[in-house]
C-alpha cells in the first residue's frame, strides 16, 4: 500500500494528536485536582470567614454590652440565642467531617451559654444592677469568651492547616503540570521537527524542484531532468511532469529542425487531444505547401522585377527629359508674359500720360493765346511809347534848333564883340570905353555859349536817352514781334503736338488693348504649361518611386530566393 502524502500528513498529525492527548489528559487530571482543591480552599475560606464573623460579632456584642453597661443603656443586639445570627452561620458552615461537626457543636453550646449570660446581664441591667452586670460580664462573659476562643483557635488552626496542605498540594500539582508542559512542549517540538523534515523531503523538496524546472520550462529551457521519484502523489506528479517535459522536448526539437529550415520532419500526436501536435503537423504540411509555392513564385518574381526595373529606368529618363523641356518652355512663357505685362503697363502708362500731355498742351495753347494777347498789348504800349518818344525827339529837336539859334546868336555876339574891340583898338583913346563894352559883350556872348553848351550837353544826354529809349522800344517792338511770331509758332506746334499726342494716345490704347489680349492668351498658355509641368513632375516623381520600388522589389526577391533556398522541403507533403 502506498504511503501517500495524505497518509504521511495524517500519520504525522495523528502522532501529534496522541501526544497532545496524553499530555492533555494528564493536565486535565491535574487541573481537576486543583479545582477540587480550590473548592476546598474556598470552603475553608468561607469557614474561616464565618468563624471570623462569628468571632467579630461576639466581640462587638461584648463591646456593645460593655458600653451598654457603662452607659447604663440596653444593648440593641438580639440577646436571645435563637435570634442570633450564629444560627444562620452555623447552618451555612460547611461541615464535611464529624470532627468539624463535633467542634461546631461545642462552639454552639458555648455560644448558647454566652447568650444565657447575655440574658442574665441584660436582666440585671434592666434591674439597674449594673455592678452585678459588670461583674457577671467580667467573669462569665470572659470565661465564655475564653472557652470560645479555646474552641475557635484550634478550628482556625485546623482550617489553616488544611488550607496550607491544600496549597501545598496545589503547588505540587502546579509543578507537576509545569513539568508536564515542558516535556510536552519538547516532545511536540521534536515531533514537529521530525515531521517537518519528513514532509519537506516528501513534498516541499520535490515541489520546489519541479517549480524550478517549470520556471526553466516557462523560460523556454525544456532540457530539464527530474531526479525525484516516490511512490506517492508527488511521485506521480513528478512522473507526469517528466512526461510533459519529454513532450515539450520533442516538440522543441522538431521546431528547432523547422527553424533550421528542415521541413522534412514529422510529429506524432500523443492523443486525440494533442492540439499542439496536430497543429504542428498541420503547420508542417501547410509550410511545405507554402514553401513550394513560394519557391516557384520567387523565381517568377525575380524575372518580373528585373523587367520592371529596366522599364522603370527607361520611363524615368524619358520623364526627366520631358520635365526639363517643360521647365524651359515654362520659363520662356513666363518671360514672354513678363515682357507683355511690362509692355502693357507701359502702354497704359503712355495712354494715361498722353491724356496728361494733352491737358498740358491745351493749357499751353490757352497760355499762348493769353501770351499773344499780352504781347499785343505790349506792342500797343510799345507803339505808344515810340510815338511818345518821337514826340519827345521832335521837341528836343526843336530845342536843339533853338539852342543852335542861340549859339549862333552867341557866336555872332562874340564876333560882334571881337569886331567891336578891334574897332575900339583902332579908335584909340576914344575907343577905350567902347572896348570895355565890347569886352562885356564878349563875356555875355561867352556865357551864352556856356549856357548853350550846357543845354546842348543836356539835350545830348536827352537825345542819348531817347535814342536808347527808341532803341529799346524798337528792340521791344522787335522782341514783341518775335515773341508773337514765336507764340504763333508755339501755338501751331502745340496744335501739332496735340494732334500727334492724340494719335499717340489712340495708338497707346490700341497697344494696351492688344497687350491685354496677348496677356490673357499668355496666361492661358502659362496655366496650361503649369498643369502639364505639374503633371509631368508628379509623373516623374511617381516614376522615380516606381523605379525605387522596382529596385527594392528586385532586391527583396533576391533575398526571398536566398531564404527559399535555405529551406528543405518535405517532398512527401
Amino acid at each position: 500500500m502506498r504511503f501517500t502524502i495524505g497518509n504521511k500528513i495524517f500519520s504525522a498529525f495523528g502522532v501529534l494528536f496522541a501526544v497532545f492527548l496524553i499530555f492533555g489528559i494528564q493536565m486535565y487530571q491535574k487541573a481537576e485536582e486543583m479545582r477540587k482543591a480550590s473548592h476546598e480552599r474556598v470552603e475553608l475560606s468561607t469557614m474561616k470567614t464565618t468563624l471570623n464573623q462569628m468571632v467579630i460579632l461576639h466581640y462587638s456584642r461584648l463591646m456593645e454590652l460593655d458600653e451598654a453597661i457603662h452607659t447604663k443603656s440596653l444593648p440593641t443586639f438580639p440577646i436571645a440565642y435563637e435570634e442570633c445570627e450564629f444560627t444562620k452561620w452555623r447552618a451555612a458552615y460547611p461541615v464535611n467531617d464529624p470532627h468539624t461537626k463535633n467542634e461546631l457543636e461545642k462552639l454552639d453550646s458555648v455560644h448558647k451559654q454566652l447568650h444565657i449570660v447575655f440574658g442574665q446581664i441584660v436582666a440585671l441591667m434592666k434591674q439597674n444592677q449594673y455592678d452585678k452586670a459588670t461583674e457577671l460580664y467580667e467573669s462569665a462573659v470572659k470565661k465564655n469568651l475564653h472557652e470560645m476562643i479555646a474552641i475557635y483557635q484550634p478550628m482556625f488552626n485546623e482550617i489553616d492547616q488544611h488550607h496550607r496542605a491544600l496549597v501545598e498540594k496545589r503547588d505540587t500539582n502546579l509543578d507537576e503540570m509545569k513539568t508536564l508542559l515542558i516535556i510536552g512542549l519538547l516532545v511536540t517540538l521534536g515531533l514537529i521537527a521530525i515531521f517537518y523534515l519528513w514532509l519537506r523531503r516528501s513534498i516541499i523538496t520535490p515541489a520546489s524542484q519541479m517549480t524550478q524546472i517549470a520556471n526553466e520550462i516557462s523560460k523556454g529551457n525544456v532540457q530539464q531532468e527530474i531526479r525525484f521519484s516516490a511512490n506517492d502523489e508527488i511521485g506521480d506528479f513528478a512522473n507526469a511532469f517528466r512526461g510533459m517535459i519529454v513532450y515539450m522536448q520533442e516538440f522543441s526539437a522538431v521546431a528547432h529542425r523547422i527553424g533550421e529550415g528542415d521541413l522534412n520532419v514529422s510529429i506524432t500526436p500523443r492523443s486525440e487531444n494533442d492540439v499542439l501536435g496536430k497543429a504542428l503537423n498541420n503547420m508542417l504540411i501547410t509550410l511545405n505547401e507554402i514553401m513550394t509555392q513560394l519557391k516557384e513564385g520567387t523565381f517568377a518574381l525575380n524575372s518580373a522585377t528585373s523587367e520592371i526595373l529596366a522599364t522603370a529606368s527607361q520611363v524615368s529618363s524619358g520623364a526627366s527629359q520631358t520635365y526639363s523641356a517643360l521647365t524651359q518652355t515654362s520659363a520662356s512663357i513666363e518671360e514672354i508674359k513678363q515682357t507683355a505685362k511690362v509692355s502693357s503697363a507701359k502702354a497704359v502708362q503712355t495712354a494715361e500720360s498722353t491724356v496728361k500731355v494733352m491737358e498740358i498742351a491745351q493749357n499751353g495753347s490757352d497760355g499762348l493765346d493769353e501770351n499773344m494777347k499780352g504781347l499785343n498789348q505790349i506792342k500797343e504800349k510799345m507803339d505808344l511809347i515810340a510815338s511818345n518818344i518821337i514826340q519827345l525827339n521832335d521837341q528836343s529837336q526843336m530845342i536843339s534848333e533853338i539852342i543852335t539859334t542861340v549859339e549862333d546868336i552867341a557866336n555872332q555876339s562874340n564876333m560882334l564883340a571881337v569886331n567891336a574891340s578891334i574897332e575900339a583898338v583902332k579908335a584909340g583913346e576914344q575907343g577905350k570905353g567902347f572896348s570895355v563894352v565890347a569886352g562885356e559883350l564878349k563875356n555875355l556872348a561867352e556865357q551864352s555859349k556856356q549856357g548853350t553848351k550846357q543845354v546842348q550837353k543836356i539835350l545830348f544826354d536827352i537825345q542819348k536817352v531817347t535814342g536808347t529809349l527808341v532803341m529799346v522800344a524798337e528792340q521791344g517792338g522787335k522782341a514783341v514781334e518775335s515773341g508773337v511770331a514765336q507764340a504763333l509758332k508755339a501755338k501751331s506746334s502745340m496744335e501739332q503736338l496735340n494732334s500727334s499726342v492724340l494719335n499717340a494716345a489712340n495708338s497707346g490704347r490700341q497697344i494696351a488693348a492688344s497687350y491685354e489680349q496677348e496677356l490673357s492668351g499668355m496666361d492661358q498658355i502659362s496655366n496650361a504649361m503649369s498643369s502639364v509641368k505639374e503633371a509631368t513632375s508628379q509623373n516623374l516623381s511617381s516614376i522615380k518611386q516606381v523605379e525605387m520600388s522596382a529596385k527594392d522589389l528586385s532586391t527583396l526577391s533576391q533575398k526571398i530566393k536566398a531564404i527559399m533556398d535555405h529551406y528543405m522541403i518535405d517532398e512527401s507533403k
Binding site: 557866336n411 555872332q412 564876333m415 571881337v418 569886331n419 578891334i422 583898338v425 569886352g439 562885356e440
Partner: protein, 170 residues
C-alpha cells in the same frame, strides 16, 4: 536884381583891373587866334573884322593857299589858308570857325582860322625871336614869338607881301 547887380559890379571891377594892366608902353594890341593846334596872333590894327565862317567859293587858277572867295556886305573877299601859304601841314581837321578879315590900306583878305581868342596887349620886348630849330618858313613875316609860344605875325608885312597879290584876272 541884387544878383545881377553883384555880377555887374564884379565884372566892372575885373574890367577895371584889366584896363589898368592893359596900359603898356610899346604895347601892341594883338588878336589871338588858333589854326589847328598852333596859336597865332596878329596886330589888331590890321584886323578889320572877325566874321563867322562861311562857305568859300574856290577860284580856279589861283594858288592853293587861296582857299576861295566870299561875299560880305556887297563886296568879295578872298580868303587865304595860312597853313598852305606858309607850307605848314595842317595838323588837325578843318574846323574853320571864323574868317579874320585883315585889311591894311587897300589890301584886304581873309584868313581862315579855327578859333578866335581874346585880345591882349603885348610889349615888343616880350616878343622873342623864333628859335632856329623851329622850322617856320617866311620868318620874315613873323614878328616873333610870345612867352606862351604864340607866333605873332607882322600884319603889315603880311599885307604887303607880294605873294598876296594875285592877279584876279583869269
Amino acid at each position: 536884381m541884387n544878383k545881377s547887380d553883384t555880377i555887374l559890379r564884379a565884372r566892372a571891377i575885373a574890367a577895371a583891373k584889366v584896363e589898368a594892366s592893359n596900359i603898356l608902353e610899346d604895347g601892341i594890341n594883338l588878336l589871338h587866334f588858333r589854326i589847328g593846334k598852333e596859336k597865332y596872333a596878329i596886330e589888331s590894327e590890321v584886323v578889320s573884322e572877325v566874321y563867322p565862317s562861311v562857305s568859300l567859293t574856290p577860284v580856279p587858277y589861283t594858288p592853293s593857299y587861296i582857299q576861295g572867295i566870299f561875299h560880305i556886305r556887297g563886296r568879295f573877299v578872298s580868303v587865304v589858308n595860312l597853313n598852305d601859304f606858309f607850307g605848314i601841314e595842317k595838323m588837325s581837321e578843318d574846323q574853320t570857325g571864323f574868317i579874320v578879315l585883315l585889311g591894311h590900306g587897300e589890301m584886304e583878305f581873309g584868313v581862315v582860322v579855327d578859333d578866335v581868342m581874346d585880345q591882349s596887349e603885348l610889349s615888343r620886348k616880350q616878343l622873342q625871336m623864333i628859335p632856329s630849330d623851329f622850322d617856320f618858313p617866311r620868318a620874315d613875316l613873323v614878328l616873333g614869338m610870345s612867352e606862351e609860344g604864340v607866333i605873332v605875325f607882322d600884319g603889315k608885312k603880311l599885307m604887303a607881301d607880294s605873294a598876296m597879290k594875285i592877279q584876279t584876272e583869269v
